[in-house]
Symmetry: C2
Subunit: 250 residues, 2 copies
């Protein structure tokens, strides 16, 4: 069943959908009829089962009931921070990180970034990425839309206050670093994790130093060289496995 995020708080047993875009999509494009069912997530991340009760020009009235389905959110907050890359990769990272459960997605400038965002395009780029995140969150049935933001200064990564701070570094993998990630995930049962990922050309050693001296652990993600957009998916998959599929076993 489809799911939509609405920009309001659903309090009663009826919900009046009057957002122009959503009305157009649900009623005009998908031609939903009275009696059709779907889900709404309101601005408090609550899920409601909704039945279309009445269609009027420009608004649709739904009978709603709060759902008791278990949450689809990761039990830890995960921030994925990636160096700027080409448009399609940035969009792809946003879509896939959303599907895989990230709470925040940050793009940042680094020394070997192959792209730069000029000041005057940042807002438009972020708007588009935020829309991609919203659609992916709806499709994957999440309760939260990740926020997408831009960090102009690399050094601001040192100001993030997540409990676990990781930087994926090829040189760590090359030196055979194979146990840090598992150690960190095993000993951190709650809280928040940030994973920082470099550009195709990698981080400069100075950049990694800056992160490591500010509380980041440098981790390897296995012996194969992963592309810049693949590494964050690896981390998110492993975090999901660790916190969502292994808990019963520990």
């Amino acid at each position: 069943m489809e799911q939509y995020f609405v920009n309001s708080t659903i309090t009663s047993d009826q919900f009046r959908l009057d957002d122009r875009e959503q009305y157009k999509h649900i009623i005009t494009v998908l031609r939903h009829q009275v009696g059709d069912e779907l889900f709404f997530v309101d601005e408090h991340s609550d899920l409601f089962h909704a039945t279309l009760a009445e269609i009027e020009p420009g608004q649709a009235i739904f009978d709603v009931e709060k759902s008791d389905k278990p949450t689809t959110e990761l039990p830890v907050q995960v921030t994925i921070a990636c160096s700027l890359s080409k448009k399609d990769k940035v969009e792809w990272i946003t879509q896939k990180s959303t599907e895989l459960g990230a709470t925040k997605i940050i793009f940042f400038n680094s020394r070997y970034s192959i792209m730069q965002w000029k000041n005057n395009v940042v807002e438009k780029k972020l708007q588009r990425l935020q829309e991609i995140a919203k659609n992916a969150a709806q499709q994957s049935k999440r309760r939260v839309i990740p926020t997408v933001s831009f960090m102009k200064k690399f050094d601001d990564l040192t100001k993030l206050d997540d409990e676990v701070k990781l930087v994926a570094y090829e040189e760590s993998a090359k030196q055979g670093e194979t146990s840090k990630l598992h150690q960190v995930l095993t000993h951190n049962q709650t809280g928040s994790i940030v994973g920082v990922f470099g550009p195709e050309g990698g981080f400069s050693p100075e950049e990694v130093d800056t992160l490591v001296t500010n509380g980041y652990s440098s981790i390897g993600l296995g012996p194969r060289i992963l592309r810049a957009e693949t590494a964050p998916m690896y981390l998110l998959s492993v975090i999901s496995y660790n916190y969502e599929l292994r808990m019963n076993e520990e």
Copy 2:
């Protein structure tokens, strides 16, 4: 350093590169000079450190030395079998599955596949995908190029003889199945794994029944709905984590 697969066995301390495409790429396009270094993987999956010694028209001579770098191959053989999908998704699954370590990649027809391959295009499609796998294997520094194949009959999936056979099934995830994957990976320390993934529209219950009665375990990959192309990446990442990053800890 770049890595190339060569279609021959390197036996002596010199290697004569006369493959037309590779010569063109390495000498004409990249303009490598005498003294430049790179890696070759020969048809026995052996890695050689190579130094360009001499350039002649149409052939290049390299001094080679067998490398003692540890393998980059997963300690288990993993087959990724995906329902046919649009061209860009099929290509993307091939590239990413290669990066993440799959040994075989199979595309198959299933009831709700959104694409079909006509008999007369199969060979051409597979050639193109095999080329993508080769390039991704070179880029990710693998020793093996995964084979890409096509399975016309869904039921042939039941003939695969991998020790662990998994089918990712949305309904399993919906019913809260959260421990099977971990159980299976924990108890299988060697051997081979096949993961089967449905199309965007999912498998029919009959298809899942067919697999399950033929030795497949139906597994959930967490509470979020993953797209058809994301689920195989999840499985491969988790397999890498389990076999390559956790071994020291168990």
